[in-house]
Symmetry: C2
Subunit: 474 residues, 2 copies
């Protein structure tokens, strides 16, 4: 099963519709298509070709937007690098994915220099000044089973794994979302979440499939976004909890009636935030999803949002959710990842015998079929929309000579929702500064514990399992 | 690839939304689901079971609506019988499809008695008064490759062929249509086209997939429909040309602003009708499709409707159209039929070597990619939305003892768009009445020629092919 190359199809169907609004400039699908074709030709002259793994290190801007579409035109499998990672972290992903070319925005030249290793790294500027290979390189079709993008998540092992997202995953995610949220004339989607995360990338995919504009924002600027929501230019926005809080802080007058959906992902909102949104008539739609589900898979439909505060909602039409005997939330559907890149063991472990994807999260379904998430997988910490896996930080800290035992847990934070804090047992006195510096060299800034607490011993169960819930209370 | 049983999924997602409005009565998905489950249990007690071919002879009413959903719940392959056919015509389809059960509405008891032959025929009333088998019979999933419905079309050979429509065909048709027409809160679709045709059945499938109400009308009553369109209750309607004409004749004041799409299928509209609609602000969207494409596959998107009068439009996002070297219109896409039932030869003939479906229609694509249909397959006659294949009528007339040669062609008609007329060469004098009576016994009323013209010889090419275009001029 394959569909015509989506961007090519879209430009044939509606060349004059707006595709991208960035930095105040509007471009139609026809203009974007031409720009993308040019970049594709230039990329081809650097040896980028069908089936190749290519790492992309950019930000939420037009250049990165063109690059990712150009890579898709060429049939590459794009490895999206989180631009907040350290060179060590990126280097791991580049090697694990067997990347053959790295593309990077100028801002990230230094980190890329340390991350790329033997792999050829090319700056966006270099690509865009190159001669085109001259050949029409675009793939004619996007086969549903073909991997389009790879995004790394750490998961329980602490070792990052490359989540493979196929064209089919993106397609079903987009159409599943459409069946839930509808598609109206004049729709447009604001993207201030990172496009190296599935929350951002999925907006760009929907734009092409739906034929609607993306309002791409380099940073989340609450005042700018507030203006967009009041103007009626933007009808849908994807947000994480911290963004909602900042929007509420900025809020002075009603949003435009055309603004119809604030899609909340990346962790739950507090009841206070939810109620504040409802009081202001903000159409907040909660959702539950992960990199492995190609964005939201469970959402609260508009008609139920008021009755079921605290719920994640119901699965999209093409998807299914069930609860295992161990209360684990299991998922099925055509938007769920094909598995982890070059990691058959992790892939097998992620699915049960009947093909259900194991989220690792604990939850239940109420009598009306609404999903409630009670406890998140592997004590996942969600900080400003970024997923942080305690084990990854713990592994780094355990490498420090004096650290004997360590446990990282979430702490509530007004600004970020949650932040990581570390509890340690050391062989001799160790300073916070030393540990902080050690982490800085090895971990993205948002993963570095905000506090280091030194204990004589960590609370444990009889079977020597660390009792994280006890640490959280401290 | 399979999805959860659609009706079951829909009732879990939005039990309280309206599913059906019939005869002034509204029912929710929850109420419909319960009614359907009951009927499914009753049908099971008549031996109806998963994988069985079951013929359905009903009309546009609640009973037929429940029956077809109940059959889908049970996993049968439903053969939709056109209720205007003669017993002979129906009998052919029942036997060709190897039907094991026939279900019929009371109105059609006589014709069914003559059509069913050895096959067990059960009246709806009998089903609905039966005890339920008591067992939950519903299939859990609708596999995309499984045949859900069969509808007969005659085609060029004159021998009706059963078009197999899979769940995947219906799904992709519905989502392709949604990507084109959007899906808005408050949408509802009026169905006054027969549900034994794909134009009607596809509305019922969309209702379940989208979660919107069907306004099911037993007959097309222009005054009633006019009221629906003015009230804002109905936002989309599917029509054929004769219906548009009758609506225009009835039109007194503007339709409601929420009414957003009059989807025209089953043959082209005259320029006069199109212009009249545009003048009145009626959102007429032309389309091109066939039983084999599970409804519209090419439509005029709203933004192009005014600029491209006379065009059929562009293919839906998941579909493709191209023109062969012989100017034949070829189609590809996941909404296209799996083939003809029990007829491998016809299936093979319908697709070219690269899997493109051969429409038999002649046309071209303009420089902007819009499809224009120039000449229809096998001189197809479209009369009030019904497809009539001249060869089928010709075969019947050739059985009459005195008929030597015959050709049936379309004649323009103010009420029906087109009607069939016959040109004959006979061995001795024959009356119109005799021929009319002969046809009445063998052909559905709408297929009977409105005129019989007697000629000394039919106009032919050097290679003895009848020149139909010359007859049309007569």
């Amino acid at each position: 099963m394959e569909l015509t190359n989506w961007l090519e199809k879209r430009v044939r169907l509606s060349p004059k519709r707006t595709a991208l609004v960035f930095d105040g400039k509007q471009e139609t699908f026809s203009e974007i298509y031409d720009a993308v074709q040019k970049v594709a030709g230039q990329l081809a002259s650097f040896g980028v070709r069908d089936g190749m793994f290519v790492a992309l290190l950019g930000k939420n801007d037009r250049d990165t937007f063109l690059m990712l579409h150009a890579l898709q035109q060429l049939g590459t499998k794009t490895v999206f690098l989180n631009n907040r990672l350290t060179a060590t972290e990126m280097g791991y992903q580049i090697r694990d994915a067997r990347v053959e070319r790295c593309l990077y925005a100028a801002d990230f030249a230094d980190v890329m220099a340390n991350a790329a290793g033997d792999v050829r790294a090319v700056a966006f500027t270099e690509v865009m000044m190159a001669e085109s290979s001259g050949v029409t390189q675009a793939v004619s079709h996007f086969p549903m089973e073909t991997v389009a993008s790879i995004m790394y998540t750490s998961g329980t092992t602490g070792k990052p794994k490359g989540v493979m997202q196929t064209f089919g995953n993106h397609w079903w995610s987009a159409t599943g979302s459409m069946l839930n949220l509808g598609l109206q004339e004049g729709d447009s989607w604001l993207c201030a979440v990172p496009i190296f995360h599935i929350s951002g990338l999925s907006i760009l995919m929907r734009s092409v499939i739906y034929g609607i504009p993306v309002y791409l924002e380099e940073h989340f600027d609450a005042k700018r976004v507030d203006q967009f929501l009041r103007s009626g230019e933007v009808t849908i926005i994807s947000v994480v909890t911290t963004m909602v809080q900042r929007l509420l802080d900025t809020y002075t007058k009603s949003y435009h009636p055309k603004f119809r959906c604030m899609l909340l992902g990346g962790g739950p909102a507090s009841k206070a935030i939810l109620e504040s949104c409802f009081a202001k008539g903000i159409p907040l739609i909660q959702s539950f999803g992960m990199t492995e589900t190609a964005s939201q898979i469970v959402t609260l439909p508009p008609e139920d949002a008021l009755q079921k505060i605290g719920a994640s909602g119901k699965p999209l039409f093409p998807a299914e959710v069930k609860i295992s005997d161990q209360d684990e939330i299991l998922l099925k559907g055509p938007n769920i990842t094909a598995g982890y890149l070059h990691n058959e063991a992790a892939t097998q472990a992620a699915f049960d015998a009947n093909g259900w994807f194991r989220t690792g999260d604990i939850g239940y379904l109420d009598q009306d079929g609404f999903l409630f998430v009670q406890e998140r997988r592997s004590d996942l910490i969600i900080s400003g929309g970024e997923n942080i896996y305690p084990t990854e930080i713990e592994h780094v800290l355990l490498e420090y000579p004096t650290v004997l035992e360590v446990a990282v847990v979430a702490k509530q934070d007004d600004k970020w929702g949650e932040v990581p804090v570390a509890f340690l047992v050391t062989t001799k006195e160790t300073s916070e500064e030393q540990l902080h510096q050690f982490c800085e060299e090895r971990l993205a800034k948002y993963k570095i514990p905000h506090q280091f607490h030194f204990l004589d011993e960590l609370p444990k169960t009889a079977s020597q399992k660390i009792q994280r819930h006890k640490l959280k209370k401290l």
